[in-house]
Amino acid sequence: MLPNLNIDDLPLPTTLAVPLAADAQLQVQRGETLPAGAVLATGSHSADCIAPRAGTVSDFRRQPLANGNDALCVILQDLDDTPTPLLLPPLSATTLPQLLKRAGIVGLGGGAFPAWRKWRQQLRYFIANGLETETAAYNDAALIAAAGDNLIARVRTVAQTFAATPLLALPEGVTRVPRANDDPMLRYLPAHYSLGNERILVQHLCQLDIPAMAVAADYGVVCFNIATVLAMAAAIDERMPLSDRVITVHDVDGGIHLLRVPLGTLLAEVRHYLKQNATALIGGADEQQIAGDDAVITAATTVIHWQADAPPRAAQACIRCGACEPVCPAALAPQELYWLAQDSRLPEMQAQRLTACLECRRCDEVCPSNIGLTALFIQHKKQLAANAAEAQLIHRRQQRFDHHEQRLAQPVARFSAQALKQRVAAMTKQVSKKQ
């Protein structure tokens, strides 16, 4: 069952707050008036932060982001809707990463990974992922419906620039691409969230196992969400930067809206537009964050739920029914992890591969006792990561201290003619031996 997939455009907001990446260096000054697509900040690892709309830089300040955390944002006001194509050198295989970086393209599936960093010289497959990466998201389905006949051509364009064989993964039975059902790039897969995950998708489509912490691109497979692919196609064909994204909004009455919003839109604008008066929860069902009106919608924001303030159903005791085990796409034993989590037995949880949890929530869905397993796992994964970081810090400090001690313990080297003579003799011997 799909909702109405027509995408509405949010009216031009009064203010945009464009978050800067951690490594970005600011390129603009207060009071400067910029065209749409102007570079606000640039960094060595991130995609460029660009102005989604033409406007004036009024301020720099920290704003909370819809997906948690906060970031320094460039505040744009006096906005103007006229699009401006980017001025860029002609496209070639080697300038593609530059183009993607300059166009500010990041993954729109929820990860916001800079697209240019997935580019490699030799790629085998280019996967366009049309499976939703979040529960309760309809962004991909809406974009696929909107792209219609052009979808295949656009995916092919981008795949050609990446010099890889295109594969387009679509959910079974839900979306049909008109007139192109037999295109060789099409792969229909069962629609469940865990297939939105890159590793599992690559496993299904290419029969290739990517290690848990590795990047698929290093194995010759590059994988993008369909929204990202369409953004790249716009950048390649029309030189348009990434300035908007589509989000799924669930309103209080259970209605579903698909909205195209400029990146950096404040949550208040969406609330105002849809006349919502409740608590906003951001993200798929897995790790929802409560966000205030001043929260910024970024490229990573996929779903917004406006929820009437009803208490969630209380969790009951685990009855060890084991329903969570067969549904786990990562072949974990959520039930055992749950019991280990009760006593915070982190080493055992790690031994049970807690870090392989995709946070897909399928265990939560089947749990008859309504236990929030995923939330529990996320909490412990964070704890594990924090512990590992601390252990590394301690190790480094110890190393530094040991080196320092060693240095102090070494006698100060003195020049000795005797020793030098001996070394020269040894070296000449070696050389003559070789000859």
Partner: protein, 276 residues
């Protein structure tokens, strides 16, 4: 897809014991219903007191787990034990076997079986009185063991087993219980009775079939992995037959299950190690 919530599962299991309770009432009279009333009230009261004591919400008592334990206990107990014995068994089950270990989900032993075993050991004199008319004569199972041909020929013997299988079958069809457990239990029991060259009729006597559908399927005290469950249930099935033949009591399923409960985590572990 979610099949049911825990509360619904518990109440369905309680409802599924009704055919077996009805069969017992038909065979042994209204005493079974009185006993059901006593065990359910004692178990619920004990549950409420324990929850209150531990500062847990009293609403948790509505999950039905105490009622399930009471229903199982009623079937397991002889029909005309004094009301005090039945109440004691229910209090043992809920207070000691369940809440002393931390309540629902934390108990290593099946509460009903632990309650039964405790009552059995504490009041052994009442546990051979499977009578319909309060004049003392041994249970059909004890008769069969003594070689009474009359006891072995009556079709009434099969009635409790059929009733339990009817209720249990519905549970399996609704997927409220894991089908592996009863199947493995039966395989274990059949294999052992073949190895011991027992009469096939002993398989449908006593509480064996009831245990196969309602006791062994308790997820809390069973093994949790699929392989572990096969191993656990087959082990309990084999033990039940072996103890019945060589143990000191005529029906030792409760003890077989308690031993199995202890070994359940080991079953999980053993299967995991073996796969590696």
């Amino acid at each position: 897809m979610k099949i049911a919530n825990s509360t619904a599962i518990m109440w369905s299991v309680a409802a599924a014991t009704l055919p077996a309770l009805a069969a017992a009432t038909y065979l042994y009279g209204w005493g079974v219903c009185q006993q059901l009333f006593i065990t359910v009230s004692a178990a619920t009261l004990c549950e409420l007191i324990c929850l209150r004591w531990q500062g847990k919400p009293l609403a948790a008592a509505a999950d039905g787990s105490a009622v399930v334990a009471a229903c199982i206990l009623t079937i397991a107990l002889p029909p005309y034990v004094p009301w005090g014995v039945a109440a004691a068994a229910a209090i043992f089950a809920i207070g000691l076997a369940k809440h002393c270990y931390g309540g629902l989900g934390n108990n290593p032993f099946n509460p009903a079986m632990a309650g039964y075993a405790l009552a059995f050991i504490s009041f052994p004199e009442y546990f051979n009185a499977w009578t319909a008319d309060a004049t003392s004569h041994p249970t059909p199972l004890a008769l069969a063991r003594l070689g009474d041909p009359l006891a072995a020929t009556t079709w009434l013997l099969a009635l409790p087993a059929l009733a339990a299988a009817a209720g249990g079958g519905v549970l399996l069809l609704l997927r409220l219980a894991d089908w592996r457990l009863p199947l493995a239990f039966c395989l274990g029991a059949v294999a052992t009775s073949m190895a011991l060259a027992l009469d096939w009729q002993t398989l449908i006597q006593g509480g064996l079939v009831f245990a196969a559908f309602f006791v062994i399927t308790d997820p809390v005290t069973a093994a949790t992995s699929r392989g572990g469950r096969w191993c656990y249930a087959a082990l309990v099935g084999a033990l039940a037959i072996w103890l019945r033949q060589h143990g000191s009591h005529s029906d030792s399923i409760a003890f077989a299950i308690l031993i199995g409960n202890v070994l359940a985590p080991l079953c999980d572990l053993a299967v995991k190690q073996w796969r590696r």
